[in-house]
Amino acid sequence: MSNPQIEIQLIAVVVAVACAIPGVFLVLRKMSLISDAISHSILPGLVLGFFITQDLNSPLLIILAAFTGIITVVLVEWIQKTGLVKEDTAIGLVFPALFSVGVILIAKNANDVHLDVDAVLLGELAFAPFDRLMVSGMDVGPKSLWMMGLILVITVTLLLLFFKELKISTFDVGLSSALGFSPAILHYGLMSISSVTVVGAFEAVGAILVVALMIAPAATSYLLTSNLKKMLVLSVLFGVFSAITGYWVAHWLDASIAGSISTMLGLVFLIVYLFAPSKGLIAVVYRQKQQQIEVSLLTFLLHLNNHTEENERHLNHLREHINWQKIKAKSVVDLAVRNNLIVINNQVVSLTEKGNDFTSIALDYIITNKDEKIEHLKDDFFLFRG
């Protein structure tokens, strides 16, 4: 690997991590769309900052752009509060308006400089290593790596300091407020850091893909864990993984790095969406299927419970009476035998003691809907897991 290659991957990784962290909270607060809005509406701030400083990496640029990000959030909330339109409509009204101001400003004034709409929308990671940070004549590395690194350090520090506050205000606004952790301060704090991250990341990956970097890792890890800390760690890992594999896919295909990273994020999400152990599509379908069989099982056991006479419990007769097709009847009987709920003697089925107990507990649960008695059944049967 050449030096620029390593630098590009480093920048990609730092950007991915810096985006993944606020992304987790945006997803949990159901504010994913807000990141999209911010990423677009920071443009006028960016352009104004650029006119003033003539430097794409100036801190003033970031401050002005982040400020426009906050204005976006405030405007969206303000329009929403009038009660005339819903939140998604408010977002849809605000960010194109601000973005278009930025586009017009660029078109009118910045035709001759290195700031065009393409770069704004898609970014270009490959060029990042060309812009070096010089400290007293010494080259210390790409400017964007330093800038994103600084943003990442700030993000991680704030996360470590205010993890508990962010958690409670995300989960329970009312209690957070009653305990004195102002939800407004935390909300705008999170919005500020998200805006700053978007501004920093946006030169590398552009306004559209930065949204993917924020939302996809969080959405993916949400499917895998029910622990907020693990969700943060997993999001970071998914971000890093996609950044590095995305870089090499781009290298191999000779395509846009940012595009490849986003594609990897999408692929990772798709795989997890399909195969996640409990929330994945396949697991859900399997569980539903299993529940169906278990309902049938219960029906079958109830029938046995209701009839002591042998002719009602003959295998062939059961099929006719319960009116199930052969395959279904077989899978139900197999399930019952496997769990020692029934015994079959000469084609006549009878409940075992365990089967009797199970039936009466299940009946009791269905009638009273009391959870305590069936706790021990939850491991064996999907039906009782709600």
Partner: protein, 245 residues
Amino acid sequence: MSEKIAIQVDDLTVAYNYKPVLWDIDLVVPEAVLMAIVGPNGAGKSTLIKSILGIIDPIAGSVSIYGKPYKKQRQLVAYVPQKGSVDWDFPTTALDVVMMGTYGTLGWIKRPGKKEKKASLEALEKVGMLSFKNRQISQLSGGQQQRVFLARALVQNASIYFMDEPFQGVDATTEIAIINILKELRKAGKTVVVVHHDLQTVPEYFDWVTFLNVKKIATGPVKDIFNDDNLTKTYGINYKVAVNK
């Protein structure tokens, strides 16, 4: 019941979009009572609690908790919001939710440690949920979720408890478990304020009641004021509730 005043509300008016939801409420709650706030939908019951707790800003009036503004007395107050007000798919466990009750005493930045964990486990045990401590909260039944919320309030170790419809969507066993814990709290000298819907159970569960319908209709001991007259004034129709006292 002692002579001390736990909560005092003076001339409280709250409005959403210029429409008053609570109008000029005066309310005095003595220490160590178990009080129900009753009233029809939209009467402002939850709003009353929320504005006492500073979650909603009133347009007029003042609130004091043991003689001082709420902001100075946060440590004395525990709050159980409506179960439906939070996202139960949030990635966290029952124990972790209870631990949130300790955040108030910890203040900003400081993290909960062993002491907080121990207190939280004890609170879970008290509501009979210890064996569920590591369960993801979406995997709990409605009654279990409400018990976790109650445990979270207990761990705050407060003097005054506000609960917004703790019996909504819970099974009968949980309802009895919760009311027994609330009665214990009252015995220990705590003041408990509950937004309540089921008028039938008011005389059995509570010793104090406030009738609310945008304005305060009446407040006082259940045995004195829980009668057809006040019910009719509050609900606007002739309510026949058997009060056997």
